[in-house]
Symmetry: C2
Subunit: 102 residues, 2 copies
DNA sequence: ATTACATTTGCCAAATAATGTCAAGTCAAA
DNA sequence: TTTGACTTGACATTATTTGGCAAATGTAAT
């Protein structure tokens, strides 16, 4: 299963009839690179995600969420404690969220 | 806030009156290195986690879960979409879990 | 205050991983 | 069979992580 972020931006791009090379050129990146990102073979940089959101006219958050989820998945895949670990991590995030210190 | 894995193993080590240098020597690793791991300044390798579980006489899974949670936290910290992304990632893990293909 | 020992810190070299780039490859439509 | 879109693989470059050492700090006992 490929990346959710990649699938999303590929779908959006196709819906808007944009070519890889067109989007890549706006991003000032190699076409091959973008192809790999769309297929989940490479991770985009956060900065790139933001630019893509503008180009494809979607909200930052929509793409950022999928992009982050891919990264999380990367670290937990193949780990049998994945779900438990995610819950532990969630609790920590939630805890820090309410107790606003860094 | 330091790492949950680090806190855990430091606590366990102290409860058992073991010195950093003793544990480090069993692990065949630099004392400074282990000190950094306990304080969350460095990530242990999975293999090291397993060895530590044996040394400190706790279940693998207990440590592995905390260790994984730390890594997840690392990728999501400072991201405002952290919680949403974790939920998305969880769904993917759960989905793949029930539909057993890789 | 001095010693002895445990831990921490800072630094840097070595190892490892991620990225960018290019050229050649596949594939489908015209 | 030519063209254009995309993919693949290889490689050099760059960035990040790690391991190891020496010096620094902390702490308790003498």
């Amino acid at each position: 299963m490929s990346s959710q972020f990649g699938n999303k931006i590929r779908t959006l791009r196709e819906q808007q009839n944009l070519l890889l090379r067109q989007v890549a050129s706006i991003l000032e990146m190699d076409t091959a690179q973008l192809s790999k990102i769309e297929r989940g073979e490479r991770q985009a940089k956060k900065e790139t995600v933001l630019k893509i959101a503008v180009i494809l006219k979607v909200k930052d958050d929509e793409l950022l969420t999928l992009w982050l989820a891919d990264q999380i998945y990367d670290v937990v895949k193949d780990e049998k404690n994945a779900l438990k670990a995610m819950m532990v991590a969630e609790e920590k995030v939630e805890y820090l969220k309410t107790h606003k210190q860094k």
